[in-house]
Symmetry: C2
Subunit: 791 residues, 2 copies
Amino acid sequence: MSEPKPQRPSTAPVGDLLGKPIPRLEAQEKVTGRAVYTDDMTLPGMLHGALLGSPHPHARILSYDTARARAMPGVRAVLTAEDLPDHNVGSVIKDQPLLARGKVRYAGEPVAAVAAVDLPTARRALEAIDIRYEPLTPVLDPEEALKEGAPVIHEQRDAYVSLQADSPARAATPNAASYIRLTEGSPEEVWKRCDVVVEDVFETPAQQHVYLEPCSTLAAVDRDSGKITLYTSTQSVFRAQAITAEALGLPMSKIRVIAPRIGGGFGGKTEMTNQPITAALARAAGAPVKMTLSRTDDMLMMKSRHASRIHMRTGATRDGVLVARQVRLVFDTGAYADDGPFVASLGSYFARGPYRIPHVDVECWAVYTNRLRAGAFRGFGNPQIHFASEVQIDQLAEKLGLDPFEFRLRNALETGERWLGGAPVESGTLRTCLERAREASNWVQRREQPSPAPGKRRGVGVAAVAHTSGLLGSSATVRLNEDGTLTVNTGAVDIGQGSDTALTQCAAAVLGLSMEHINYSGPDTDVSPYDWCTGGTRTTFTVGRVVVQACEQLRQQLFEHASDMLGHLEQDLELRPGGIVSVRGQPGTGVSFGAIAGRALYFKGGPLVATSRWLFPPLPIGTGGTSAQGMPSMGNGFFVFAAQVAEVEVDELTGQVELLQAWSVHDVGRAINPAAVEGQIQGGFVQGLGLALTEELLWKDGHLLNPSLSSYKVPGSRDVPGALHPLLLEHPAGAGPFGAKGVAEVSLVGVAPAICNAIRHATGAHVTRLPATGERVLRALLAREEAASKV
Amino acid sequence: MSEPKPQRPSTAPVGDLLGKPIPRLEAQEKVTGRAVYTDDMTLPGMLHGALLGSPHPHARILSYDTARARAMPGVRAVLTAEDLPDHNVGSVIKDQPLLARGKVRYAGEPVAAVAAVDLPTARRALEAIDIRYEPLTPVLDPEEALKEGAPVIHEQRDAYVSLQADSPARAATPNAASYIRLTEGSPEEVWKRCDVVVEDVFETPAQQHVYLEPCSTLAAVDRDSGKITLYTSTQSVFRAQAITAEALGLPMSKIRVIAPRIGGGFGGKTEMTNQPITAALARAAGAPVKMTLSRTDDMLMMKSRHASRIHMRTGATRDGVLVARQVRLVFDTGAYADDGPFVASLGSYFARGPYRIPHVDVECWAVYTNRLRAGAFRGFGNPQIHFASEVQIDQLAEKLGLDPFEFRLRNALETGERWLGGAPVESGTLRTCLERAREASNWVQRREQPSPAPGKRRGVGVAAVAHTSGLLGSSATVRLNEDGTLTVNTGAVDIGQGSDTALTQCAAAVLGLSMEHINYSGPDTDVSPYDWCTGGTRTTFTVGRVVVQACEQLRQQLFEHASDMLGHLEQDLELRPGGIVSVRGQPGTGVSFGAIAGRALYFKGGPLVATSRWLFPPLPIGTGGTSAQGMPSMGNGFFVFAAQVAEVEVDELTGQVELLQAWSVHDVGRAINPAAVEGQIQGGFVQGLGLALTEELLWKDGHLLNPSLSSYKVPGSRDVPGALHPLLLEHPAGAGPFGAKGVAEVSLVGVAPAICNAIRHATGAHVTRLPATGERVLRALLAREEAASKV
């Protein structure tokens, strides 16, 4: 098969920084402990804030008594909904108050907030707040919630301002946050044409983000102007600004958000965390307030990945061609919608998988329940649907007697084909990824290997992955200093993935400068160019693109000056490393960036500065014969592919699964910084491993049972195999910088199905519910044995 | 006379904020004491820095002994030139080291610096530093310095990197920093055609800036990246960045400069103050260092206005037409050139005054002496030359028997005529200013009024003024937030004159927003758009222009979206106050800025942002038959006019002069904020009053005698008459925002000659040396009586 060609001629890099594994700019300060996170900051007179969580999953608030708390020495502010403007926030549906108002909808939901001179005092004050509740029946299962007669969680749902004012969910059950229906082909009629059909119900858990740094905000109010400055651990200073303004009923011009170093986010810090309530405390107290959540409060109060239940049926012909798929996908969005409708949208969108399946019927709900709200989390609905899809693909291959790779290769989308909904496949490298994964993992031999010991079984499984990269808008400004060094400004938040370094490398590569000669500055809504968010696998792709665009504009200005100064036409000039514009082929003739900058600043043209902006236009849904209903309008992205292979060992006695080795093959387009890309893939794989094997929020009667890292099991270094192989393919294409494609989320999406497919290969156990704990693997083994004995 | 017409159709303002006396944005925090200046800041582990001044005006440094100082407890760094890179700085001539190297050239010149845990320790350490000197003969008079055989101050002068590498000064005496010769017409031949000729030698003193906030810098070095952050009281964060990088031999990408609130500058904080030495201390000590100069150190070590000696001869015909002028202008630039050659350039340029004088010969020197360096100071050479010129114009009028106004009106430049050098007069409103001043001051009656009491004489005098406004380059970025509020970024430093407020009003007026809905953010080299400097009467003019340009670009983007959204052509749309774009004449049809911003951010086009830049191209010198030699290339400006009238009372017994009343008439083009303009005029007038009557740095044997505010007399509130009338004329023209012209420096330029002309009108005393102290007025009175008795 021929290699896909790049679709956009990328800027030729100058110098040798592109593709180099440069150490991260902030690595040294992080490993020495000098990096400043929000919680490391103090301001004069600063108070400490804390939140009181609801003791009930669902209850009416009858009355507040905060008198005792307010009277305590050292307490400077006590807030409940009664003290706050009645403004809801929400990225799709404005359903969430700052503090519970009228009702509580999940156990742990913030109902009151305190600012005091120190944290122990604040916590004692929380205990002194008396709130009377009238408990209501909680709704804890999303499918139960959809049934007629289920208790209503949001009585005002239809009155909320919503991006989905015309959603079909409005006409359906009152606990639906969104409803989507996507159909293509004639899904009702084709099942009879299928020689093989598989059908199952899959379940995935609510996973916690477990960013190393819990949510933290430091808010200060300028007494004279009323302007609020927030230092906060966020993935988007601009979203935090908009949300805080909305929640407090202030103009955005009165809110400034600055992101210090951030200790991870993974989607959990995209929308509201504790910014508005900390700002409200600072306003009420008349002093700066810092609120850093404890790990337990963070787990109880913030967000999780959407738990899902997926009814899926897929059919193929006996020669291994996929024909039809029917999906009913239910996302539990918890007490508030947050990004739920968007997550449901992406999940629905990828329900067909990276395959050509001509007949598809997808029905998807995001449903309110009385559980922790669910929002964005690396993969954004896609790990859930990929789990069901890729496990089912393996089942079909098994039934057809085809090798899992072979079956996937026959059905893989290629360049020029169409996604569900009609968007074209621009850089169809899935086949290339699969072939590389098969080869690197030595698949054929590894599938045949015997068990290493009695009671231990080894298996190897694969998942094909598609995801999007890019999404929404960004802007960047670059400025040449008088000495020829460069200042780069973006609004992108480096949440630990290394984007500051990669974006600096992009600028360096366009202009031929060294890292030392580029000053990259961090996000601050007062002064940074707008960037939507560090999320959606988009920072290198989208912000990198605008950085490159801005640098190209600056290069054009440099060439115009140099042409004047050297007396040669622009097309006869070239950039040379180190900040020189020379006559092409005459290295000695150049003028330095410094000389050009001096000329521009003092004699001609003015400051050398360029601002560029870009928006990935929204996805065209509904072309290509698709019927799309209820799909919330969301930003587009560039489609990227991966193939992930896992080798596991299963203990037949305990059901315990150990990951032995893994290969994660990604078409990254162009690796700006290969070390950072590999780090992303490793991190994503390990987070996927947690979803696959150990991580699950557990509730009893609506109360979270395991809100701590001792009872919620995140993979540690002992759970991660040494041989976790990130493999980078580089097929430059698309609108990203130098043809780069994103990798951040993709790296997680296929891990769980690859592992579950490996478990079945090892043992025959068909796991349909994540995480694949020892208990579930054992049950699946028993089920298989029972089924076998019946035959 | 008809009113001059605006030359550029200005953007029609939307809403009613343009021309409104809005209270300054930072007024409240300043009057409550909450404004944060550099000295109000602290950083963890911060040290305090201090400088040791030279005890000699001119000496060779033989040796340093810093051992005792270094050994003192609490001392963290001791620096002399031996510890620093051998890099000089200077805006025109790179002649100034960070600390004296090899020689000291003025008494007070910094020779050593200390950082210690507190200021008393730092000062004790300074006393413990032993430096051996070999005193050299000082050169204290600039005309003596030009003579053959004078001691040489800069042995390496010709080796310095200089913007004036081809200056004729190089061929002349070694103590010349610059030499300029401008001739027009046939100045040698026309004297015989003059019916009246006056000739005098004028002298003006070294005046101190006396900004309320002494120079102050807080420097911190990032241990990991080596990047230096400076918080400093400066008029230009970008110049401070460039100078610090140059002085320390670092790339500008490693220097960040932030300006907190600034307590005045008046030119004294344009080039190097104590930024590089504070940064060097912080690097040496490995901890943040704050250095705030005491008032005495600031007066001894920093800068002054150039003292000058001006030989001037002017001739006219008997019908009151100016014919010829010859000038020899000597500026004492002190020990280092700093902005001296530029100051000399502006002084030379205005030597013809705002008049048509067809035959001119100007010779101008900037000369090194062993005195405090002189640099930029409000007026920049122009108050000196206007003093001589306007006093001489009055003398001529007297000899011709013409009213001072009448004589000026006959010779005033008008639109379409040419400046010395050939630049066109674009908005010739001097006649209008003079006519308004004559009328407002009730000139004719006031000239006739009798003495109020025996021994008291009253007089009234006028000065016509021209200056430039604008200069060099700037840039601005504006961004529309999601809710339709605006963020405005510029690199302009508000040094107390109110530019933050005026620039916000400019943006408000273009877009029809309220002040509350605009977030204006302050200067920071990491993130602000480039601005050259707050100086040269340029901030409202130049930065205002780029703010308006950027807002106009944003408005264009808004109209493009609104046209799509409303289904109307752009030309049928109009902006309405409050952030609405409507169909023209249909107020109900509009879309809000917030709706447009949301569309742009999420659906179409990307972030609404615009960056604009502009450079006033350099002045064309040498057109129009002018011969120009040695003129350093300097930025252009827009020419502005004023007329200033002073009424004084002179005590004949003591010579003491009291200003009774004043009228300062300015064509400000368009008053963006009339209250701020009036404040500028009042402040400038009072600073001019100090120059006229009381302020003078006094030296004895090269030692400054009065480096304190008890011995250096700045006008206080009791010295300023209640009736100081700023009168604003508005003749919009030129490239400034809405036709605005600058006023900052102009307001000072004519004060001293108006007062001296009033003194002569009151008493006949012809004062040629400033300040016009009682002693000098008495001497002039005696000289006049002697002359009268000789006749």
